[in-house]
Amino acid sequence: MGSVGAKEVPVLLDEHGKRIDGRGLHDLRPLKIEAGVLQRATGSAFVEWGENKVMAAVYGPREVHPRHMQQNTKAVVQCRYNMASFSVDERKRPGLDRRSQEISKVIGEALESVLFVEEYPKTSIGIYIEVLQANAGTRCAGLVAASVALADAGIPMSDLVPAVAVGKIDGKLALDLRKEEDNYGEADVPMALVPRSGRLILLQMEGHMTRDELKTSLDMGVKGCEKIYEIQKAALRNRYSLGNNGEGGAQ
């Protein structure tokens, strides 16, 4: 993030319709997912998405702490999204803040809706998402990582969850914004969906869009998610066909 009153607004779209990093409007940043990267977690995944680096770990089902949150008919999903202090340009004050609380909540609720939580009553499933390097779209990257980590942990779920953001830069809709586009663009719409049923389980919007633009961006997002879904599946296949010592990672 630049200093207050940064004067220079970068050119987000050049005359050929190319973006800062040379992508077209419908292109994703390069995405690489590796499952099973942590020894001590029940399940884990590492995601490199453009310049984002996100690690997700899943623990459980285990006893619920604090006890009063325990539910007699289902598991509670406890999700924590955290940004490392060194993940952004200017050192972030470590720990919980409003933003990370909100993201923890929306990611946790999105994932709870695909997990078969009724199979593990009186337990908790802990999901920990650590953003090591941030470049816009970390909540989507976190969700993508967490869903692979859950599958790696062997916790029953109805589907993997791909997620992506669609934004508006220079008046045009663009898939998967990077930092400059997020900072200087007009809108940002992160979304996550269940590919099998097409159900949206996360949809947020920052900035302004017309109704039609929102519709179009949903379509773009769905297409992006399909690609991400394939990479997620490849990451899991990789994990189990190579064992732990393969030079894993799916691109």
Partner: protein
């Protein structure tokens, strides 16, 4: 091999463990190997938590001492009570701590799992009791059938070629006792099984490993 959300070609079969039914179709809910045994389709998972079942023999760790029971960790989300009537000893009220201390390992059998995930365990039975000596190695509970092998073939292979003694708990804990060298060899073999258990040719792989470790 199937992944969560994948549709299974399973016409009129019933969805078993690792699967679910939606919109009249059957999908996988975990990553694993598809197994169709009419009339049930199931997915044998690559990984997953230990779910206690009646009759399982497991290795448990004593955690808490009560007046008439111990709470033991069987690897499930909750501790299981081991009542003193379930032990071969005659114990007076309040004297449980003189027989088993926190940290002790015991081989127990799961007797009853109810709807509330309460687990009853007993220490009365063949091969059950307290463990002393040796080490306990934790592997994924889903790999336990591979460690045992067809009617115990893998255990026999490991025991005869190293001279170690093993007890495999359904919860993925394996007790190994023997000489230091044999314990180390078995332990490494278990790690191979844990890592590569889903691949074919596992027995050959282990045989090769055992030969190599013997010659070195």
């Amino acid at each position: 091999m199937v992944l969560p959300g994948q549709e299974l070609e399973a016409g009129d079969y019933r969805p078993g463990p690792g699967t679910y039914r939606a919109d009249g179709k059957i999908y996988a809910s975990v990553a694993g190997i598809l197994s169709i045994r009419p009339p049930v389709v199931r997915v044998i998972p690559f990984s997953g938590p230990y779910i206690p079942q009646d009759g399982d023999v497991v290795i448990a760790i004593v955690k808490i001492i009560g007046p008439t029971y111990w709470l033991v960790d069987v690897g499930a989300p909750h501790y299981a009570p081991l009542h003193y009537s379930g032990t071969p000893w005659k114990i007076e009220y309040g004297e449980c701590g003189e027989y088993l201390r926190p940290g002790d390992a015991v081989v127990v059998r799961i007797e009853a799992v109810d709807q509330n995930q309460r687990i009853g365990v007993t220490m009365n039975g063949d091969g059950l009791g307290r463990i002393s000596g040796g080490i306990i190695e934790q592997i994924s509970p889903t790999k336990v059938p591979r460690v045992i092998g067809k009617s115990g073939s893998m255990i026999r292979l490991l025991e005869t070629s190293t001279g170690a003694r093993m007890t495999v708990g359904q919860n993925g804990r394996v007790w190994i006792d023997g000489s230091q060298g044999s314990i180390r060899t078995v332990r490494e073999a278990l790690q191979i099984i844990d890592r590569e258990g889903q691949k074919s040719g596992l027995t050959d792989r282990i045989k090769l490993f055992l030969e190599q470790s013997q010659s070195s």
